[in-house]
Amino acid sequence: MLEIEGASAGYGDLDILRGVSLKIAKGEIVGLLGANNAGKSTLVNCISRIVPWRGGKCVFEGSDISRLHAHEVTERGISQVPEGRQLFPEMTVWENLALGAYTRKARLERSRKLEFVLDLFPRLSERRVQAAGTLSGGEQQMLAIGRALMSGPKLLILDEPSLGLSPKFVLTIFEALTAMHREGLTILLVEQNLNLTLQNVQRCYVLERGEIVISGRSEDMQDDPAVKRAYLGT
């Protein structure tokens, strides 16, 4: 479904990604692990075209998306839950969700999607008219995921959804992810949390200093000492 080959990117003189290749098949849930500054966020922002590619190929459902604008990537069916949630803080929960279904196609199904998201996160429906900025961290993360789902994506990318959340909320969010995956959604999960990710994904890539150093099925990786070594950067 998504195929990245030899991708590179960076800012100014700084190279952040060097020849990254990655594949996600339809219906998979894939993890992307790595320490801070490994280039994980840059990679997903390149896919979403918030950051420009410097080289390589990025093919989604058979067509090259590396030269599209950010909004066109969303229209094609890739939705990102950005790091730090990036909500519209002064808008209500409802308005944030409505904006999630901004693309022309998504607008037609807005009310149906809304129902789906509020079913998934019932807490949000209690907070419908509250400003997003006043929600708790966990609720904001739910809203961010809900907003991304509103566009009816084929591929959902989550950038560190567990960051700064209490264990209880982390559990809720990963349960929701598993549920969505079971319904057929393809998911790319970017995380720092090693064990949590390996338990929840089918396959996993480890990114280190802008390069993929290890990849494989998560059952195999769970006991692989090389993963921990690469991950800890020792």
Binding site: S48, I50, H69, A70, H71, T74, E75, S79, Q80, P82, Q86, L87, F88, P89, E90, M91, E95, A98, L99, G100, Y102, T103, A106, R107, R147, A148, M150, S151
Partner: protein, 300 residues
């Protein structure tokens, strides 16, 4: 001891005051409208056009030409000035400003350069004399209650301003387009991620702001002389409510416009000569000194 006639004088004084305040509210609404056009652009792209006043003066002179050539009333010529100014502004924004819009300082300098081009371009075409654009409402007055006499044109500006503002606020608050504008304002990156074409939204908002300028020009042109060199003056008159209103809170910008308008008329009522015109500026600076966060803002 109170002299017998003091009641009468007191009444007269109050009438002058009321008259001044009403006049100020009416004219200030239009100032607020020009400021609103600045606030809209600032909200979605973080920049300010220092040639905004000159663009409006350009519209005013277009109404002059339309009036002499086709005998059109300024209120009717909006239909022509608006598309023209939208086209000019959109081209300038798209090709000159948007590519450098992340560098605020350069944008300011560039729009100051545009100010010279527009202002002196008008001067070259129309010459340096004051001119008047005739309107059907010239000299028309309305009596409100039993004391206030206002020019009909001012009353029309007031109604038009608030009508336009109402439509604008409704659009921003309750439509998909409006939500996308606010989304770009609050978090441009997230807006792009949900599928908003940020650059296109900015361009549309800039065009919208140009449309507002065309309307303000026609509202102001009735009954006042126009001059090519007045652009900077209008820019400053608009930037005061823009700053006082916190630069992106549109309703506070409109209300601040009224404050500046009232300060101007009262200054002219109670101070003789040109010093009366200094009052709004003094009020502006005083408010900045005592309320640095703007009139309606809270310290963040």
């Amino acid at each position: 001891m109170i002299p017998p006639s003091s009641g009468l004088i007191w009444g007269l004084e109050m009438e002058i005051l009321y008259q001044g305040v009403i006049q100020g509210v009416l004219i200030g609404s239009t100032y607020g409208l020009i400021a609103l056009s600045m606030g809209l652009i600032y909200g979605v792209s973080g920049i300010t056009n220092f040639a905004q006043g000159d663009l409006m003066v350009l519209c005013m002179f277009m109404t002059l030409t339309l009036s002499t050539l086709l005998n059109l009333d300024p209120y009717v010529s909006i239909l022509i000035t608006m598309p023209v100014i939208i086209a000019v502004t959109a081209v300038v924004y798209r090709y000159l400003i948007q590519p450098i819009s992340s560098q605020q300082l350069m944008v300011i300098q560039l729009t100051l350069g545009l100010m010279f081009v527009i202002q002196n371009g008008i001067l070259m075409v129309y010459g340096g004399n004051f001119q008047r654009v005739p309107s059907v409402l010239d000299g028309d007055v309305l009596v409100i209650g039993d004391f206030a006499v206002v020019q009909t044109s001012l009353l029309i500006s007031f109604v038009a301003t608030w009508g336009l503002a109402g439509v604008l606020f409704w659009t921003l608050g309750y439509t998909d387009f409006g939500r996308s504008v606010r989304a770009v304002h609050q978090n441009a990156k997230a807006a792009a991620l949900v599928g908003v074409d940020v650059r296109r939204t900015q361009l549309i908002v800039v065009s919208l702001s140009a449309a507002i300028l065309a309307v303000s020009a026609s509202l102001l042109v009735a009954g006042r002389p126009i001059h090519p060199g007045e652009g900077l003056h209008y820019t400053v008159v608009a930037l005061m409510p823009f700053v006082l209103g916190g630069m992106n809170n549109l309703l506070s910008i409109l209300v601040s416009g009224i404050i500046i308008g009232v300060a101007e008329t009262l200054g002219n009522v109670y101070l003789n000569g040109p010093l009366g015109f200094a009052v709004p500026y003094a009020v502006f600076i005083a408010i900045l000194i005592f309320r640095p966060q703007g009139l309606f803002g809270s310290r963040s």
